[in-house]
Each structure stands twice: as C-alpha cells, then as structure tokens.
Amino acid sequence: MTDSTLRRLLAAILFSLLSACGGGGDSKTGSSQNPDISIVPPATAIPGDPLAPGTAAPGDTIAPPPLTTPPAGQAATTFTRQEASRFLGRATFGPNMAAIDALAASDSDAWFKAQFSKPQTLHRKYIDAMLAAQAAGGQKVGFTGMYETFWQQGIRGEDQLRQRMAFALSEIFVISMQNESVRPQVRGVASYYDMLGQRAFGNFRDLLEGVALHPMMGLYLSHLRNQKESATRTPDENFAREVMQLFTIGLYQLNADGSLKLSGGKPIETYTRDDVAGLARVFTGWSWAGPDQSAARFYGSTADPDRDWKPMQNYAAFHSSGDKRFLGQSISGASSGQADLKLALDTLFNHPNAGPFFARQLIQRLVSSNPSPAYVGRVAAAFANNGSGVRGDMQAVIRAVLLDPEALAPGGTTLRTGKLREPLLRLAGWMRAFDARPASGRYSIYYLDDPLSGLGQSPLNPASVFSFFRPAYTPPNSALASAGLVAPELQNTSEPSVTGYLNFMQEAINSGVGEAREIKPDYTHELALAADTGALLDRIDLLLMHGSMPARLRGQILTAVNGISIPAATASNAAQVATAQANRVKLAIFLTMASPAYLVQK
C-alpha cells in the first residue's frame, strides 16, 4: 500500500471514529474558488464538523467536574467585539470571528458556564485509534501522534478554555517527551495531558494528586519504582524536590500577594535539603497500576495493559518504613504509602505559598508577565477561598485571572501589561483565526523544535522540567531588568529564533503548515475584502490584535498592501486578479504578525 493511500486509509478510520457533532467556526457566505489560491471549501453551517474532536464511541469523552458557584453579587462582564477578542486571546488558543461575535452578544458568566460544562474529548482515545490502526498493519505510532491530537483539539475543539488551560498547566506541571523514558509512551503522555485538562476545572488538590500519581510523571521525575532506603540506597529525591520547587511552594516564603517574605532583610527558604530527603521517603513504593502488588509488577516486568495511563499504586513492600520528617510534619516508622502521600500533598496544598505561587504563574501563562502584587493577591485570595469556603477551586482561580480589573484595563497603559506571545500560540492563533484545516483530517505538525527551521517550541517537549522558559527570566543587563520586570518568553528569543519565526510564518501564511503543508488557511472572508484594504486590515486587526493596532503600524501595512495593484478584471486574467488579491491578504497578515506590537500581547 502506498504511503498516501495509507494516509487516506488512516484518515478514514480516524474520521469514522472521531467525526461527530461540533459545528462552530465561521459561517461562510460566498466563496471564491480559484485554483491559484490555497483555500479549502468553506465549512458549512450544518453541525457535523468532521475535523472536530467529539463523541464517536462511549468513553471517548468524559463529563467535566461539576460547576462551582461564583460569589454572589459580582456582575457578569460584557464585552465589545474588541474586548471579546482580547479576552479570547487569553482564554483560548485564539479567537475566530464567530467566537468574537458570540461572546460580544453574551457575557462572561454565560461563557464560563458553557466552557466549564463542555464534555472533554480524550487525547488517549485518539492514540488508541492510531494504535488500533497500527495493530491492523498500519503506520507505527510515535510521539508525533501526541502532536496530532494536541493540534486537532487545540484548533478545532469547542472547549477552548480547557485547551488553553491544559496547555498552560503543561508548562507548569512539566513532563517532556525529550525524556527517553517518556518518549515511547505516547498514550501515556496523551493521558497525562487529558488529566491536566480534566482537573483544570476541578480542585487544585486533585490536580496535584493527578500530577503526583500519573505514571508519566513517575517516569519523568523518577519516583516511579522509587524504593525505600537500604544500606546501599537512599530514596530518589527528584520528584520530592521539584514538587516543592516548581509545582507548589517555590524556594522562598511568600506573602499573599506573591512578594517575598523577609527576615532581617533576607528571604526565608521554604525547605531544606532535609525536607527533600524526608519527602523523598514519602514518595517511595509507587509504581505501575495493576491488579496486584507483586515485585515483578513493581519492577515492571509484569505489565497491566493500561498501566501507562492509570494512576500509580503504592506497593507496601517497597514503601519506606523509616521516620519521615518534612515541612514540619513528622511520620514515625511504618506507615501506608497512601496515607503518607495524602499528608504530603495536603501539607503542600495548605501551605500559604501555594496560592500566590500558582496564581502568579497562571497569570503569566494567560495574561501578562508582570502582574502587580495586588493582582496576584486577588487571584491568591480566590485560591484560598472561592467565596463558598472552598480552597483550591480552579474555576474560581481561572475567573479571577481572566476577569481581574488589571487584566481588563486598557492595554499598553503601564509597563506591567503585556507578555511576549510564545511561538506556539502565535501559530495557534493564526490557525484559529483563519480556520486552518488539513484535507486529510490529521494535524501533522511534527517538527517545531528547532528555532531556525521551526518555532523553537513543541508542545509537551521542553528541554527540561523548568519548561520552555522560567517564570522569573529577565534578559540580562536590559532595561526590563533595570525596571525590575521579567519576560519569561524572551528566554527562548534569540537571533536564530526571530529569524526562524519570520521565515516559518511567511511560508505558513502563504501555503500552510504541517507535513506536505496540508493544513491550509481559509482566507475567504479576507479575500472578499482585498479591494477594501481598510476593511481588510480592520478584520485582521480585530482577529489578531483585538483592534489595538497602533496607527503607525496600520499606515505602514496599508501603504504596502495598497502598493499591490489588483488589475481590472478581464475575460482572461482571473488568475492574476486572484494572485494579487491573495498577495494583499497574505502581506497584511504577515506584516501584522511580524510586528512587535502584535508579538507583545497586551
């Protein structure tokens, strides 16, 4: 069977498993079909987006956690179209016009309620379908499968808030396919990402437990198969250290607004090496799920077929029975692994640092790099108490991040607003805005890691547990550093990366992305405005920059776009006319996406 035939066969299998209700997307009116322009036939308004992930078989989707009640007395926020675009640029993988119009006609309460209520499609099921195809003699499944389902759901999924949150959480609770143990476990990685998406709308305590017990995290931070101490062995400290430093409390004690607590003018460490060693003993005895606790199962030679995605279980025989002292807690002697874990996670969850530490990072992932202490404090307060006496309510925290007055205040007014868009989100925003779709149905975007030939970033594939960039990164010896400001996404910014991004998007905007550039944009609406360049730019500005394009930039782009003349239509020059129209559209989009004003999201 030829490669392309195989691809179509696989696509057909995937279609049959995954096509479902979905709808959404732009309603298209009138398309200009022209062989010289790379557009795909417009989606119809009929429900049944074949490329949308959705229910196909029982178990492909799961229900979300229950809605929690926002505090009474807070009026819902309404949005102009610009404000809606700005909000969606933070809360989703990027707006399209239908989403902007829908939100502008609604309000934040309705939007959040709808988003929190959407069922979740499991990435794991996508991989299962690929594995079934492989078993039937098809293509071997590798880490590229994770990228396919990531992009398919990210671009087509209606549960956009969940998509954006899962991605943000994957940059905090990091696992990476660059790890040799993790990379072959494609279904495991997919299920880890499912877990983040699921628990994004639940309680932080459950999210923490989901992270701690997922076998992929067990592999990544090596507490899977971590054994109790012996004469020649002390328990592995990797997860114990990073769960504190990166996932919950950080290195130094914080006030409720995220600022450092000081003692005698010096910051106060949250934990010592002894705490790490004590916590390492807690995280012993955990290994693969299964129906029993045999040593063979612990070590991995006896394998439950679903062990790659089911939570780890504790094997009493390998759990430390020594004293465990950490963070002021003390466990004497023999104890159950589950009880020890509960105490440890409860301790971390209830630590005063947990709220501000997480709040600040989530604000950085969604809104801005330098939230004021007051903003951090308000989100941390929502973490501490959602208004109904519950600590760790993720829905409350998400609302607090996205609806904070500092987030909604007009942009560009202080140094504090803004963040450099990370390259993956620039690509995602373009794909969402212009309805980029693959004819085959597979989002085959595989090789983005190299900064020069790609974007320097691949989802779930950072170089280390410290993610693609550090929350506290500031360019050395810069005006930002002098002003006490950080810009994490600048850590990935270099001479090769700025070059690579411009070259990558130039080509993508022109002819699509993915293998054989099969994921192609649909510029129907933009092409219809090619003769009215002011209106064209208005539309692009609203989609990509929420209407905030500075006047000078607008002038520069308009001059350039108007400089492409569209010949008057004759009987025989349809191709030239179409090319000119397309070039205007592509130039307008590219110049927008190349501009510093776009690159820094405000």
Partner: protein, 479 residues
C-alpha cells in the same frame, strides 16, 4: 570585509552605542586596555565553556582506584542489581580507564569512566587535565562552617536553575552578567565588532552576558537571513521595505524593545557572519563522524560535536570578523541522572569524549593552522551528585571534578587534592555530596589569566576572587 585599524575611541564608541543609554559602563581600566592593545596582530584566543546541564556525576567520571578508595566505592555504589550505578574496575570487562597524573597524590590511583577513552588519549598526550572538586563558593568553607552556617554560602544550593546561574555568573537566577561575558568586556578590546565576542552555539545563557558584551546565538545552520527583507515579499517590493521598517519598530513597551534589539542583531550580523563562517563539511570544517551509543551500539549524530563544529566554523572566520578574543558556549543536556544512570550517563560520557576529540582534531588543522594552543575548552555543570545511590541513580550534589582541554593546558595532571572516596569524611555535606575545595571563581580566574585578563582586572570579572588565597591554579601555560 574591511579590517578596521584598531582604534580605542572607535571601540568605545561602538560598544557604548550597542549598550544604549541604559547601560552604565564600569570604569574602564585604560592601562589594562593598553595591555590588550599591545597584543600582536596574529594573537587570537578562544575559550569554550562546555556546560553539562543537569549536574554531572563526577564520582563516575573521574574515579580513585587505589584499594581503599575502590573498596569504599563498590561497597557504597554496588547494589548487586542489574541497574547498579557502580562501574567495573581496572582490568575488568568494560572497566574504568587508568590515568596517571604527573603529580602523584600519595596513596591514590585514578581512572576515567570507561566511555572516556578519547579523553584519556588527550590526557595522556598532555592536552587535557582534571581539576578536582570544583564548585560554587563565596569564600572558602569547612564542613563545620557549612553546618553552622557561619560563613557566607551561595544561596539555593542543590537547585538546578540557581546553581546553573551561580556557576555561570556568581549569582542565582536573575543575575545580570556572567563571567564569560565579563571576560569578554575586559579582554575583548581588540575585537573589531563586539557583537561577535560572546557566542552561544546552544541556547540563551547568562554565562555570555557582560556589562557591554551581549550574548549572540548562532544555529548550526549558520547565519540564515530573514527572507523577504529585500527584493520582494509576496510579490511586493513595498512589502519588503515595510517588513524591514516594521520589525525594527518598537513602541514604548520594554518587551517590544528587547525583541527589536534581538532582531536588529540578527539582521546586522547576518551577512558578515554568513560570509565569515566556514562551511560545514567539505572546504570548511569537516562534519563530525557519528558517535556510537554504548548501550545500543547504534551510530548517531552527536549534537555536542555539531555545536563544536559550529564554534570551529566561527573560529575559522575570525579574520573577517576581526575577532581576537572570543568566548563560546556549548551544552550537553540530560545529566540529571536520578534514575537509569548506568545507561544514560554512559551515553553522555561517550558523547562528551567523542565531541572533545573531534574538536581537538579539527583545531589541529583549521584551514591549515594548528590552533590548539589558542583554544581552551573547559567543562562546567550545575553541581556534582550524591555519592550514595538511590538504587539506579543519584541526587543533587555540589563539588565536582572538571576537565580543561587544549594545547595550552598543562595536561596529564590532576589539579587540587582529590577528595576521599565515600561517606562521612571531612568534605561530605550529606549523602557524599562534596564541599568544594576549589571555587568556580578560581577555576575561571586561571582560564581568564591565560585569556589575557590582567590580575588587576580579575575582581571585575570575579568579585569574590579576593576571598581565595590562590587565583591561579596552575593548569594553563603562560601563553
């Protein structure tokens, strides 16, 4: 490509304009600059920082093999299981490789990891040395002082990102300059274009940032241009002009301004760098041969060797670049061997040795010139690791042994007292992690002196160097 005659005023002018109005230049020592200016026209030197990211297990890299040490080693590291991290002894199959340092250390014998055979060759030939138990320190410390907290210690010990930063800059994450960049500030006076003083063939690193010198990154693909900046863009010449204007135009937003600065460096450096860099492969710097993964036997690309090839390609372009002193940065990752250390560390050691040997070969005949005396490579890492094992791996440590490689190294020797092997000794801060006996500052100062940093300038590069009695560890020849 013009070579400008050296002009102190032009140099000052050019670097100050690069620095913009926000940088406050430190008081330049004009006498020192005069020394730098006195360097002869053919005089060129490069330092290459080879950063092993994650914390290398130095205890399995350089080993003591005398009976006392070896007994302790096997007693503590051999679990008897298949994934035990201990290495086979001298003479055993796959055993450690003996090295004999020129300066004996009473009662001790030494060896290298079994996968370091090419590095052993460099050692035996006098072009590689071991510097023992190097780590981050503010001032010397004894075990008692460490436990009592009675002397200043680097903050955030055992934390990856902070110790990486401290190794590279002297301060935890958030530092504004690194000592490689600071060396570039003082020793790079003879460079025509300061942009090419501090170059990373890996990612962003604080190591290369100086007060004036900025780090510059080069991909293995070389200095690729931004397409569409000239000529036409989507069929429009006006479009190309607009792109040029737009990507250089930042508003008042500081993040925009920083991004534009990177873009400007990319554009302004591209044509000169692409013209100066030697080709990869025939006619330039030979491509590295594949290395063999010792676990699988499979041949593959060694990314570290490719980075060093990129470095060599730039060194080969030093004439057109007008470069006299360059600081480079390359990196190899995945050293954080909490688990699967036996196989993972073995593969890393194979890559390390393969890359260093390749680099040595390339430098021996770079465009017909033997540059090995003019280029020194040194290893660095977040920290060493614990001596005790967690079964199949190790945890975060502190002091570690490192390598310096090059024709100007006084090789075939171990510098610094090699610590006792095992636990509970006078340098054990817990689980066998080592209290360093040589500071990063001293290690760096020795390299800096060879590089051309005057003694009077050392404190600008290493602010704590005055806390240590010895600033030249003696592992470099004078020139």
């Amino acid at each position: 490509m013009q070579n400008f005659p050296f002009s102190r005023r032009r140099f000052l002018g050019s670097i100050l304009s690069l620095a913009g109005t926000t940088a406050a230049p430190f008081a330049m020592n004009l006498a020192a600059m005069g020394n730098a200016a006195a360097q002869s026209a053919g005089d060129y030197k490069a330092m290459v920082c080879l950063f092993m990211a994650g914390g290398n297990d130095a205890f399995n890299t350089v080993l003591a093999t005398d009976p006392t040490s070896w007994n302790e080693y096997t007693r503590l590291r051999n679990t008897g299981a298949a994934d035990s991290i201990h290495l086979p002894g001298v003479g055993e199959t796959g055993g450690v490789l003996p090295i004999v340092p020129a300066t004996a250390q009473t009662g001790r014998a030494f060896a290298l990891h079994p996968q370091l055979a090419p590095l052993k060759d460099l050692f035996d030939n006098g072009r590689a040395a071991v510097v023992a138990n190097v780590g981050t320190l503010i001032q010397p410390a004894t075990l008692a002082q460490y436990k009592a907290g009675s002397v200043a210690l680097p903050p955030k010990l055992f934390s990856h990102n902070d110790q990486q930063s401290t190794w590279q800059s002297g301060s935890p994450e958030g530092a504004s300059t690194g000592w490689g960049g600071r060396i570039g500030d003082v020793a790079g006076a003879g460079n025509t274009n300061a942009m090419f003083t501090a170059i990373s063939a890996a990612g962003n690193t604080i190591f290369l940032s100086g007060r004036q010198v900025r780090q510059f990154q080069v991909s293995q693909s070389g200095a690729v241009p931004i397409r569409g900046l000239s000529g036409s863009l989507y069929g429009s010449t006006g479009g190309a002009g607009a792109l040029q204007a737009i990507i250089n135009d930042a508003g008042s937003d500081l993040i925009e301004q920083e991004h534009v600065a990177v873009v400007q460096r990319a554009i302004s450096s591209q044509s000169i760098l692409s013209g100066a860099m030697l080709a990869a492969g025939a006619g330039g710097v030979p491509n590295p041969p594949p290395y063999v993964n010792p676990n699988t036997g499979a041949s593959g690309v060694n990314p570290l060797a490719v980075q060093l090839q990129t470095v060599a390609r730039i060194i080969g372009g030093r004439g057109p670049l007008g470069a006299k002193r360059q600081v480079f940065y390359v990196t190899l990752g995945s050293f954080d061997t909490h688990d699967r250390q036996k196989e993972l560390h073995g593969d890393l050691m194979a890559r390390l040795a393969h890359a260093l040997a390749y680099f040595d070969t390339v430098l021996a005949a770079l465009q017909g010139t033997d540059l090995r005396r003019q280029v020194t490579t040194f290893t660095a890492s977040d920290f060493g690791r614990t001596f005790s094992s967690n079964g199949d791996g190790t945890d975060h440590g502190w002091g570690a042994h490192h390598f310096v490689v090059g024709g100007a190294v006084k090789g075939r020797d171990i510098y610094g007292a090699f610590p006792t092997t095992g636990l509970g000794h006078e340098l054990d801060v817990g689980s066998g992690a080592l209290l360093p006996t040589t500071s990063v500052d001293q290690y760096g100062a020795t390299l800096a002196k060879w590089f051309g940093v005057a003694d009077s300038q050392l404190a600008e590069v290493f602010p704590n160097i005055g806390n240590f009695s010895r600033r030249d560890l003696g592992f470099m020849t004078a020139t």
